[in-house]
Amino acid sequence: MTMKMTRKEFLKTAATPMIIAPLALEGLAKGTRSPVQELGKQKAVLVDVRRCIGCKGCQVACKAWNKLPAEQTKVTGTEYTNPTYFSPITWKVVHFKEIGEYDSAQPGTGGLKWRMLADNCKHCVEPSCVSVCPTGALWKRSDGPVLYDINRCIGCGYCEMACPWGIPQFDEELHSIRKCTMCFDRIDQGLEPACVATCPTDTLQFMTREEAERKAQEAEAEGLYTYGYSEIGGTSWIYISDVPFSEFGLPELSSVTHKGFQNNLLTRFAAVGLLGGAALLVFKTYADRRVTISQEGGGE
């Protein structure tokens, strides 16, 4: 029996792979992007927490430049920070903290401090998010910014889990993660990031990373606290403060990069395996010997 196929059916059958193949290739055709792109000297933003007056100009500038809509927020009642955390449309959060206690007997002695910290993606020198991203959707430009391609993100959420600060946030409408881009489009035009350009007190200063490192070293020599200078292998957002950063909820991190962290964990994983295997072997030999002895005893 022969099967007859109409011309319409033939065209339909033949066209299917023609439609599917380009779609399949589309995902692969974008080429492999190097995780670090060559572009000029590494830039950084130095944040001097002591200067911040909490005007939130940086937050507004970030929203304005990146065309991010406002969102409904809630007053938590426990702190002044609002919004309290990042979202796909809030890339910068200004933490408000009351530190210490007011001494009414000696007013003006500085027992109580108000400190504000403008927080956002730290644009790590060796970013964990870039390291774990399976698709190359995230990458690090050698001049600082950690960027992402929304068309290549598959929404696995691994970058959200790998980032020590939980910065990347998945946008349900765009179907991709989103986060601060360090205003790379402004940097490309020779401008400062929008938040830096807006800051009225020079809390945020745009400079090369070398310069920021030097200032951080000077601050450490003065007994001040720094954050981002060495943490997780260094970041492009370096903070200076007269109060510990744990007050702002920033985690204490070692200077080990993500690659070092992974290698360290793999080594310990292998060591546990070897030790465990050896222990099991000893246990098995002992158990077998006991069985042999009891059998020999039973035989006698």
């Binding site: 964990s128 598959i154 790998a162």
Partner: protein, 303 residues
């Protein structure tokens, strides 16, 4: 981060569970075929079939959990790009290889293929199966943002749990295949010979007990040395209730059954041994799922 804002929820826990189960079932069934031969044919076959089905279920769950899949399904192919830089890409390649090997082994069993070829494939499959179960733990351990997961013991816990659940499901499915697919050989034959099946189940009890003890020790060490606020796991939350349920259902009760069946039960009671063991396997499988959920959620809450 609160439970309602979890990046990885129950679907991901299911993926980790089925991935580990698939790897473990394959390793156990392949080892039984390589070292025990025809006596354990039913178990080898059962484990291989379950392994292939489990990895497929795991992959479906994984794809469902990808938040961009519905708008760009083929974008998932991008996950093959960053070998060996991203552990997730390494895992994607490993699971792809494991799925293929598991399928080939299943086909070779189903259509009575060449035994030597099957055994060669099984050697490769054991390596891929072990890597798959370890990967489910390494994936979490490499997520630096969740300090609770950053332990070299976590991947080993998943390897042990995967092997344990794999062994349990391989034996549990023998009567299931016998009842629901009686034409599929040799399940019905083995099941009808109660004493032979009971012997197999009895033999496996010592392995089950050893694996349960190792898993319990690993979990206790992780709790004692764990970074982050592990007290959330121990007191005052729904998660701590689930954690205790895991300890009781997944470890303590099955250990009790192992002890009873190997030390106290008369050797002549085949039916009771099979019944107790079947119940134990169900408990172990439930415990395996609870373990994945508890660890996954704890890591995100203790972010």
């Amino acid at each position: 981060m609160t439970v309602s804002e979890l990046v990885w929820g129950p679907i991901m826990a299911g993926y980790l569970f089925f991935g580990g189960l698939a790897g473990g079932a394959y390793v156990v069934s392949a080892l039984a075929d390589l070292f025990k031969g025809e006596d354990y044919e039913a178990m080898s076959k059962s484990g291989t079939y379950v392994s292939f089905c489990s990895i497929l279920v795991g992959l479906v769950l994984l794809v469902l959990d990808l938040k961009r899949f519905q708008v760009a399904p083929l974008g998932i192919l991008n996950a093959y790009r960053r070998f060996p830089d991203s552990i997730l890409t390494v895992g994607t390649w490993t699971i792809t290889g494991f799925t293929a090997v598991s399928l080939v082994t299943s086909v070779l069993w189903l259509f009575k293929g060449n035994a030597l070829a099957r055994k060669i494939v099984e050697v490769v499959g054991i390596l891929l199966g072990l890597t798959t179960t370890a990967y489910t733990g390494l994936l979490l351990a490499f997520a630096r943002g969740a300090t609770f997961w950053a332990s070299p013991l976590l991947p080993w816990t998943f390897v042990v749990s995967g092997t344990l659940t794999g062994l349990s499901v391989s034996l549990f499915m023998i009567p299931v295949f016998a009842v629901f697919m009686p034409r599929l050989k040799p399940f019905l034959e083995l099941y009808n010979e109660k004493s032979r099946f009971a012997g197999m189940v009895g033999q496996s009890q010592k392995y089950v007990a050893v694996l349960l003890v190792i898993e319990l020790v690993l979990v206790l060490i992780e709790l004692a040395t764990g970074q982050g606020h592990v007290e959330v796991l121990l007191t005052g939350s729904i998660l701590s209730l689930i954690f205790y349920a895991y300890l009781m259902i997944g470890l303590v009760a099955p250990l009790g059954i192992s002890f009873y069946t190997t030390r106290m039960m008369p050797t002549t009671k085949d039916d009771s041994l099979i019944l107790f063991s079947m119940g134990q396997y169900v408990l172990i499988l439930t415990g395996g799922l609870l373990l994945r959920y508890v660890i996954l959620t704890a890591g995100q809450i203790l972010h």
